[in-house]
Symmetry: C2
Subunit: 305 residues, 2 copies
Amino acid sequence: MDAIQRELLMQVAGLHEIPAGAYNIRSNGQSIERKSTGNIEIINKPDKSGIEIHIKPGTKKESVHIPVIMSQSGLEEVVYNDFYIGENADVTIIAGCGIHNGGDAASRHDGIHRFFIGKNAHVKYVEKHYGSGDGSGERIMNPVTEISLDEDSFMEMETVQIRGVDSTKRENRAHLKAGAKLVVMERLMTHGKQKAESWFDVQLDGEDSSANIVSRSVARDESWQLFQSHISGNTRCSGHTECDAIIMENAKISAVPQLTANHVDAALIHEAAIGKIAGEQLIKLMTLGLTEAEAEEQIISGFLK
Amino acid sequence: MDAIQRELLMQVAGLHEIPAGAYNIRSNGQSIERKSTGNIEIINKPDKSGIEIHIKPGTKKESVHIPVIMSQSGLEEVVYNDFYIGENADVTIIAGCGIHNGGDAASRHDGIHRFFIGKNAHVKYVEKHYGSGDGSGERIMNPVTEISLDEDSFMEMETVQIRGVDSTKRENRAHLKAGAKLVVMERLMTHGKQKAESWFDVQLDGEDSSANIVSRSVARDESWQLFQSHISGNTRCSGHTECDAIIMENAKISAVPQLTANHVDAALIHEAAIGKIAGEQLIKLMTLGLTEAEAEEQIISGFLK
């Protein structure tokens, strides 16, 4: 790996060195390093590009890193990764994609991730997207996440895209069985002429299942964002979705949440707010000696933290 | 008018007798009574079915009643009514439609209402929909409301559908100029196998325009409701939309609000909640001596008041 690849790896996976636990590092379209452990097996998908991650029932406090980095301009790839998480496991999965594009051709990574989460398992899933490079070629990422949560399982999903992704279309679909719980925290910033679409479809199928989908975003410059989230309550269940967005300069933001109650015991709530940074907040920080630009940066970084 | 027609008139317009001010009463497809006043002129539309209501600039504290009643089973009609409200006027407009269907054929009234509201004018617009009759024929109402609000004008719209409408598809569109304000309160109850769709599209085009769209609904039995509301903030403006729904028995409810900020000074907020009547509320009223059914009725009527 060269310096650019190491920087990407640091940005998307927080990795300065080879991680503990299982990992698979994909660089410019190929698996370049991989390690399985006694409880976590990583194998190639037999039929298409991508990997399968098999986590044994009862695996506790282990982690899997599967970062993807691309530094070759013009590379376009679709990768299918499937996660099989055994009953009662408790694991952390760090995915993420970093694209450095120094050329004129578009670089694109579409990662299709499927999660099959066993009964009573607990998964923390972190996904970071990052772009860099001075080339005029676009950096494009279209992640798809499909989640099947078995009874009493829990998934906590944290998705972050702070900088450098020119175009993204995110699709997230989840089905929850009885007692299952899904918590999503999405943080997104767009700048320049970037476009970002984010779409959630959550089906609360099992009794006492619950979902909490929170999106926080900042749209700067000429960028454009669309947030759509659909929660269906199909039985006794509870769902909450929230979208808070800060709009700046000439950006445009749409928020389209959708709640569907198909059962009398479905309790569903939604909130959304779009607005600019409050003037009082800026003035307060400026009286403490910050410039207006510094005050804005501080507010934004607090909002996206 | 017979007893059924008089009852419909009472339900939709609160009229026990001929109203004060200007009015036009439409019954079974025809204008049966009409009165213009010195400031308010009602004339037939030259080209299609319906009327034009011309209100002189500066008209103060006057009212117009334009109820529609249908008691003949199988009648289907589309009626176009245009309201021209002069600058600085301050008027109340009571519309509404009552259908009594004692037969097997569907009765349908589609009222397309356009409002051209002059500068600084103030309009209170009340629209009630009501159905009755034991026939198996459906009672269908599809109201369309198109609103143009000139500078600094204000429209307050109250729309109520409490009982007896089998199918309704409501479309409301509004364009607001600088300083204009729109306040909408929708109250809706569906029962049996009724279907109700309600759709708002509000364009905040002028500086300091504002909109507040509130929907409260109760869905009972096997009924189905869809609430959609879209507020676009195209300049410095503020918009709020709220949808609270009570679900009962085997009903289904969807709420799809949409906020679009096309300008950095657009401040937009949305809230939605769908759920059943809280158990504690029921228990509290039942300890006061009400049956469960009575307690439910009391909570619903308070919620829709």
